[in-house]
């Protein structure tokens, strides 16, 4: 990769992405070959927001590379509670670890943190900003299931605040992909993501109804619409209900449709889809391990050179 850190999917070229995905495929084929690759190395986990999958998969990925992890623990029991700045926290953890994974509720937190440390830093989610390591595992899953070129994808749900959406949409502009965005009016793509898509020459095709595009799609990427985005419960229920899918919804889709979700889901994908061939979200979550192993392997090896 050209970067020392992974902050935003917008910084990734097609070559960068393919390097990570190819390495992930190697790891998938022969995990044992990577078992001692980073023995003696320590990964710092700084999560200022709750996380299950991302934290556990980075933890697991580092351990499967032979390394160890040191975890800041919950914010409530850390020095952050005493008023320490993020800039200070990451500079301290830099002394304990060889690389750092950061999740933070403020947009731009990872960009700032990277200005204060010299070790590789991975943005594991900055507010409603970016979540590029999720994007890499999403791309890996798409490549395995549908291929990354000549692809039509629908991205549905909370496109305004959904950081996985922002990262994925940007990264997909490196490939021959037609992107459709399906959301309520109030949760459409934010200005900056739209700007980048236009700058990359991608068409932004927006819809408020899934029915409009479902039959064309090779991949449907569903995200959760959160209750707190709406002024009242009734409005939320009315809107969110329109973006829930079940087995009946998918009767209008092609047999090959791949349904993805960054998880956790609440009720936007009905459990009756789980047993169909469309359901790919658990495979997607499992791909977090080889992809994050590949990412850490590349960043740590680069830092050694």
């Amino acid at each position: 990769m050209r970067q020392d850190h992974l902050i935003s999917a917008a910084h990734l070229s097609r070559e960068d992405i393919e390097a990570v995905l190819d390495r992930a495929a190697e790891i998938d084929d022969d995990t044992a070959a990577f078992r001692q690759r980073h023995a003696g190395k320590v990964l710092g986990l700084c999560f200022f927001e709750p996380s299950t999958r991302t934290r556990m998969s980075f933890d697991t990925a580092m351990k499967r590379l032979g390394g160890q992890t040191v975890d800041m623990g919950p914010v409530e029991s850390s020095s952050v509670k005493k008023g320490e700045t993020l800039a200070d926290t990451v500079r301290v953890v830099e002394g304990y670890a060889d690389a750092l994974v950061l999740r933070h509720p403020s947009e731009g937190a990872a960009t700032m943190a990277a200005e204060f440390v010299d070790i590789p830093l991975v943005n594991a989610g900055d507010g409603a900003g970016q979540h590029p390591s999720q994007t890499l595992l999403d791309l890996y899953t798409i490549r395995e299931n549908a291929g990354l070129d000549d692809l039509t994808i629908g991205i549905m749900g909370d496109l305004k605040y959904g950081r996985t959406v922002h990262s994925l949409a940007g990264a997909l502009t490196n490939f021959d992909v037609s992107q459709h965005f399906i959301s309520p009016e109030s949760l459409r793509l934010p200005r900056n993501v739209r700007y980048d898509l236009h700058a990359a020459g991608a068409q932004v095709k927006e819809h408020t109804q899934l029915d409009d595009v479902l039959p064309e799609l090779d991949v449907l990427y569903v995200t959760r619409i959160q209750r707190e985005r709406f002024p009242d419960e009734n409005e939320y229920r009315k809107v969110a209900g329109q973006y829930q899918i079940d087995a009946e919804t998918l009767e209008a889709a092609t047999d090959d449709l791949t349904v993805m979700h960054p998880l956790p889901r609440v009720d936007e994908i009905s459990p009756d889809i789980d047993d169909t061939d469309h359901a790919t979200y658990f495979e997607q979550a499992h791909n977090g391990i080889p992809v994050r192993m590949a990412l850490l392997d590349i960043l740590l090896s680069q830092a050694d050179d």
């Binding site: 993020l86 800039a87 947009e107 731009g108 900055d126 200005r191």
Partner: protein, 155 residues
């Protein structure tokens, strides 16, 4: 006689005249330049002055201070048509246009309240200048040209 009509703002002996400022932006110009009652310079401001080029314009004259190009370039974001005249002994000795900078550090605060630059961190806001606005280098929010004046962080 003509002079009496035209000279709504008195001539200065030495200093800088910022002319052709978009009407209504004069106080923002002063704010960006960090000029207020405490900074010591004598300042004259004309607002909503008739102008051939702009219809109406603002004009700012700062006595005793020659502003450098880098100091004034940031004005291009709120007053793209501004011209900068350096005056010595009542004569204009240098006349320049403002040039759009590539980066603006400080001066603008990010309108995204959830941006890390608005948290209590030891950093200064930084924006990359686009063709029609600026973009926060941290959270990537875009501030359109017509929104810049409302997001000045000059106090």
């Amino acid at each position: 006689m003509t002079d009496d009509h035209q000279l709504r703002v008195s001539k200065i002996q030495n200093g800088t005249v910022i002319d052709h400022v978009a009407a209504g932006q004069a106080l923002n110009v002063l704010a960006i330049l960090g000029i207020d009652a405490t900074s010591g310079e004598a300042v004259s401001v004309g607002m909503n002055v008739p102008s051939d080029r702009l219809g109406r314009k603002d004009i700012v004259k700062v006595e005793g201070r020659e502003l450098s190009q880098s100091e004034v370039d940031v004005l291009s974001l709120i007053a793209p048509a501004a011209s900068i005249n350096i005056v010595r002994d009542y004569d204009v000795v240098e006349k320049n246009r403002v040039v759009r900078p590539d980066i603006v550090t400080g001066i603008i605060s990010c309108p995204n309240r959830n941006c890390i630059t608005n948290a209590d961190e030891p950093i200064t806001s930084r924006f990359t200048v686009l063709s029609d606005g600026v973009r926060c280098d941290y959270c990537e929010s875009i501030v359109r040209e017509d929104e810049v004046a409302a997001n000045l962080d000059v106090n």
